[in-house]
Amino acid sequence: MQRVGVFVCWCGSNIAGTVDVEAVSEALKSEPGVVFSTNYQYMCSQAGQDMIKQAVKEHNLTGIVVCSCSPRMHEATFRKTAAAAGLNPYMVEIANIREQCSWVHKDMLTGTEKAIILGKAAIAKVNLNAPLIPGESPVTKRALVIGGGIAGIQTALDIADAGFPVDIVEKKPTIGGKMAQLDKTFPTLDCAACILTPKMVDVAQNEKIRIFSYSEVTEVSGFVGNFEVTIKKNARYVKEDICTGCGACVEKCPMKRIPNEFNLGMDNRPAIYIPFAQAVPKVATIDPNACNMLKNGKCGVCSKVCAAGAIDYTQKDEYINEKYGAIVVATGFNPISMDKFDEFAYNQSKDVITSLEFERLTNAAGPSAGKLLRPSDGKHPHTIVFVQCVGSRCESCAEKGKEYCSKICCMYTAKHAMLTRDKYPDTEVYVFYIDVRTPGKNFDEFYRRAVEEYGVKYIKGMVGKVVPEGDKLKVQASDLIANKQLHIDADLVVLAAAIEPDKSARPLATMLTASMDTNDFFTEAHPKLRPVESPTAGVFLSGACQGPKDIPETVSQAGAAASKVIGLLAKDKLTGNPCVANSNELMCNGCSSCANVCPYGAITYEDKEFRMPDRTTKIRRVASVNPAVCQGCGACTVACPSGAMDLKGFANLQIMAEVDAICK
């Protein structure tokens, strides 16, 4: 039994106006364990807190019950008071007699009666409280960034800048991501490569950063501060440390007709390739599905021309195990497939392209060396129709589109339209839109410039169908303002395809026990207040894996994620929430029910040897909770049939004592 002190707060007249505080402190005096009971005007004031400290000393209190406002308000305050008085802070319980009593009941009699019952419940609970000490765990001072696009690059640079080592895992042969494929960037129109590639070089040259390109994460275990990760380095059949990236092999490779992923299949690359000139690492990679040597053992040209002797046809996938304190997910996005949008004739005509393909067509390093030419016949297009929201905001067609707004399309379409008119003033440019959404610094001005200065024809309405006819594309569309149906003979149709999270995100989320929404975007710990943290401690989110984002937003989120990681890695030890689940091994059946309901993967099993009453020993499978991972929800405690699993601070006996006190 504790020695409990009860402190009833008046909260001025907030409580005392409807609750007879004197009667409450008097009534609670005779409760079991209570050795001291008083009331005071403002318990949370310095004087009130001093009163508590004084009482702890004078009456040797081991438990404190404060009947006051909501624990969400001042529980932390009174815990500090208790700690200052030399008590364990978790020996404090609050009876909420303001928000849940004096403020909702008008009558003094009922208010007082209820306050007494709430006080009794808190006393019953505190009698069963035990001092709790938060667990501590060490922090591995190294971060893992999964994904090497602009989000991952920025996060890694920022973390490395703070002095912590960072590894980037990128599944493609080079970092750079989607941004490397872009031509210009809105709203300032600087060239993507000019601002991205210096950052890529920074990454390559930063001593704190290691790049695992052409690699993927295959296994994650552990918890915040202590993750253990297995990284699979796919065999690229080229020794990374020896290859100089001279490109002789690429030039000489006889297998030249492999669709070039970097240019979205609009031109070809050889079987051995470097995705683009500024690739980091600038190392060749052999495509095992295309290389004759790897497939049939015939060829070997690259090996012969390689002066450095970097080609190694016998290279195997390599598995690397590393420990990390924090993991940042930056897996990015992809445009959705246009295969199911028959109405736009994407699969029927080469001249119906996606916006990302348009980027490559206008990029100086692209398949047409930056000249805007029709993919079908290489002629200059005179009429171009841009269609927005293709597959975005698409509720009825879940099998082909996405319900959400892809956010970036309005701006890049304005950019494409503007650049086209700028470079080729003889071109007619139409943009069909449902809404133009341009919130963001200098964004709306940018869009208006496209209309007002560059004469892009923005038409409110959607394109209904595109029919290839001869060398033209017959576009049938609505003009809702003019209330007309338009028929346009276009040379090129550009579809602003919706974007979706990368396919690798879902299996990764499972490995990380990080949660996702129905669209496979990672869920943030709090949509407003913790936007770059995943609910799983130690896992952070950067860029479009969390939701559609443009570059400025991605970079700022990347920086925010980095600062969270730095904050974590700067600590030598992590202090946990002490109100966590714990399993009584003597009663645990090892049945796995608890682990099945744990959202954090905090429960693991081990075989333990037990001494039986008959002096024999028995090896049993029992659960153990990792207090650094457990967040204290208590789902496991109810899943456990034997009651072996309990929650500190909200134990079965404590809650039942409250129930009993209320019902008595």
């Binding site: 009663m587 059946n589 049939p641 009651g643 039942m656």
Partner: protein
Amino acid sequence: MQKITREQLIQKASELLENGTVSAVLGWGIGEFDYDVTPTVFSTVEELRNGFVFNDFCGANFSKYLVKKTDKIEGKILVFLKPCDTYSFNQLLTEHRFDREKVYAVGIPCEGMADIAKVKAISGDGIAAIGSNGDKLTVTTLYADEPVVIAANDVLAERCINCKSKKHVAYDELMGEEGEVIESNRFDEVARLEAMTADERFAFWQNELSRCIRCNACRDACPACTCEKCVFDNPNSGVENKSPANEFEEKLFHIIRAYHVAGRCTDCGECSRVCPQNIPLHLLNRKFIKDMNDFYGEYQAGAEVGSRAPLVDYTTEDLEPGEVFDRRENNA
């Protein structure tokens, strides 16, 4: 009425003992009466010959015994499993309750077991011997001059009338022919109760549960109740309670027991078989099974090892607790 005989089982067990595959046999042993068969561990062929029985009263589900027995015995233990027992066997494996490597499971066919209460209702008390002859039982009693002959089908246990499966879902070796999963009417009685008014149901259960003497036989026989320490025996659980002081505690015990095994109960019916007060306890379990099938899709505990029970799973579209009743009213 069983297709497999005691002699065949003894022969199989002897073989496996002698060739060293197993070092012990978990089987049915002679009890005080012919209908009172006791689960027994046999270590020698001689013990088998003297003490092993197999008749129409061998309902006991041995799966549960494996939890404790596998630790006590060096080498493997042979266990005979009727089709319904194999579900419990799998469920216990799902819960990691025993080491599969230590068990040699022999699946045996089952034609349904007899309910001694039903036999007694026909023959009267004082049963001295029960013989089996084809599909007839010959019951000799102390008070009647002539033995009473009863059709085995007339005294079939409720759980066997509503048998859900003649298929073995786990075994190392199968004796006899494999059967099929059966479309049974096992939920009819639950549905009948559901159709009653709340007052009628309350009266029904009041009548049934008030007979409970808290002997714990249901719990002790239940293959899902294998807790190292039951909450009702644990002085630190806050709900320890060893004898029923009043009718509420019987209800509490049976509700909580049914809840604890919900999603894990394979509907083997041992609870009702062993109840000395003939309380239809299996209806509580079946209610949970029926509800979970209705709410979350068909699920048979123990049908496969490693499956996830409905109560430790969820979908974001699950129905709301309040909708449960609307749904029933709409279906009615």
